[in-house]
């Protein structure tokens, strides 16, 4: 090849790292679109109340304006972390009033099934009517409530909405992306599996890229932690969870603006599955070590039993928190760095913000892979503890020493 591979690799990495910038570019405040235009052409990934700004100059902005802009930035970051009922890629127009994206189906269970397109919500501004009931999205928590025809919310003194909340089975942004990733994984790995048959046990196409990763998970995660004897039945789960988390993490860095692994419900269900598998495939020795720890005095066994029992719950709980907190922290820091250009609102701010966000995006690509790896690794470690049989070896060791 004439062209050296190094610069090409760097260029591709740089392109990927720039993606989050596009996803998070906003029209938080009209005064700053000048600064924003310097770095990104696209504007606003979401609909964070774009109608407030009136085009003041920065120098004239008094404290309350600044505070208002500050609050808007915070609301925007918070909004980015939430799930939503439609897919908005970016907004455009003078005040960000035009949306580019597509609606998703809304399925509500409230005295019968309501099924309509989320375009009826008009990006949270409108009241949707279905079978004689009215629904509106609350701005603060992003949930759907039943309202009257005007879409009024009643609140108690603590600020909680007291409207009736219908059961929401909508295909939201997160759910849509989960289904998409599921489909993607099915196609990719089915293709990989098939290519072995057709091609004489040699992977082809995209499988060439994934085969070493699959082998790595088998040879360096599953076998050392679970053991030659039992690792096979856990492989499907470990592979699924690794690629699921990795793909979702990577999609979180694209301009789609999704934050799925940074959603406590998702990580909780992943951790719950891990916990159930650990519990139901555990061998006698696992329970023996929890309730009647061998090799310690009898009073100690009574003290250790509740601690060990609690430990079985803390392990998946820490899995849940670790993935969730890592992804949320990454998104918040990235969004905050991008918001720096609005905070500085000067020619220095934009390049600085761009540079910092760029470097952090590179780090986030690493974190996306690392978190998937750690989740898989720890899950394998817990499975390994569940199926370990060390009674005999222990006795032998004691006898030998």
């Amino acid at each position: 090849m004439v062209i050296s591979k190094k610069p090409l690799q760097f260029f591709i990495a740089a392109l990927v790292a720039c993606l989050p910038l596009f996803s998070s570019a906003t029209t938080v405040n009209d005064t700053v679109t000048k600064a924003a235009a310097a770095t990104t052409s696209m504007e606003s990934a979401t609909h964070a109340e774009p109608k407030k700004a009136e085009g003041h100059e920065v120098e004239n902005a008094n404290l309350t304006e600044e505070q208002k802009a500050d609050l808007e930035r915070k609301a925007h970051i918070k909004h980015h972390l939430m799930d939503s009922h439609d897919f908005t890629l970016f907004t455009y127009g003078k005040e960000g009033e035009k949306y580019f994206g597509f609606p998703l189906p809304v399925i509500l269970l409230d005295n019968g099934v309501h099924f309509f397109s989320s375009s009826k919500f008009e990006h949270g501004e409108g009241v949707a009517e279905s079978n004689g009931s009215y629904f509106k999205i609350n701005h603060h928590d992003g949930l759907v409530y039943r309202t009257d025809a005007e879409g009024t919310f009643t609140e108690d003194d603590k600020g909680h909405v007291t409207n009736v909340k219908p059961l929401d089975f909508s295909i939201t942004k997160s759910l849509f992306m989960i289904l998409l990733v599921g489909l993607l994984m099915f196609i990719l790995f089915r293709g990989l599996g098939k290519s072995y048959k057709q091609n004489g046990s040699i992977a082809k196409g995209a499988g060439r890229f994934f085969e070493p990763i699959v082998l790595y998970i088998r040879d360096d995660i599953a076998i050392p932690n679970i053991g030659e004897k039992h690792y096979k039945k856990y492989m499907s789960f470990l592979l699924t969870i690794f690629f699921f988390i990795w793909f979702l993490n990577m999609f979180g860095l694209t301009p789609l603006g999704v934050n799925i692994t940074g959603n406590l419900a998702i990580t909780a269900s992943l951790a719950l599955i891990t916990y159930l598998i650990t519990t139901f495939t555990a061998k006698k020795d696992y329970w023996g070590h929890i309730f009647w720890m061998p090799g310690v005095p009898v009073p100690m066994k009574f003290i250790l039993a509740p601690i060990e029992l609690l430990g079985t719950i803390i392990k998946p709980f820490s899995l849940m928190i670790r993935l969730y907190a890592n992804m949320v922290a990454g998104h918040i820091v990235l969004m905050s760095l991008i918001a720096l250009m609005y905070t500085f609102n000067s020619p220095i701010g934009s390049p600085l913000s761009f540079f910092l966000a760029f470097v952090l995006s590179l780090l986030e690509i690493l974190v996306a892979l690392l978190q998937a790896y750690i989740f898989t690794m720890l899950a394998a470690l817990y499975f390994g503890a569940a199926v370990e049989e060390h009674h005999h070896e222990e006795h032998h060791e004691v006898a030998h020493h």
Binding site: S318, I321, R322, A325, L370, M377, L378
Partner: protein, 64 residues
């Protein structure tokens, strides 16, 4: 009530930072001594770091 919480979380994060720093430093030492064991050392390092990190995040959650 707010300030002690935040200071406490800060202390936990400092502790976690020192912990992860020590793990990283020790792993570097170990790799320098035995470069052929790099893979194993890195795996062990990542697991230990992830466990400590979990504690740090738990502290941040307590503040939230």
């Amino acid at each position: 009530m707010e300030i002690p919480k935040i200071v406490g979380a800060g202390l936990v994060v400092i502790g976690a930072g020192i912990g992860i720093g020590r793990i990283g430093g020790s792993a570097m030492d170990a790799i320098a001594r035995q470069p052929e064991a790099t893979g194993k050392i890195q795996t062990a390092m990542l697991i230990a770091a992830a466990l400590i990190e979990g504690i740090g995040f738990a502290a941040l959650f307590a503040v939230n």
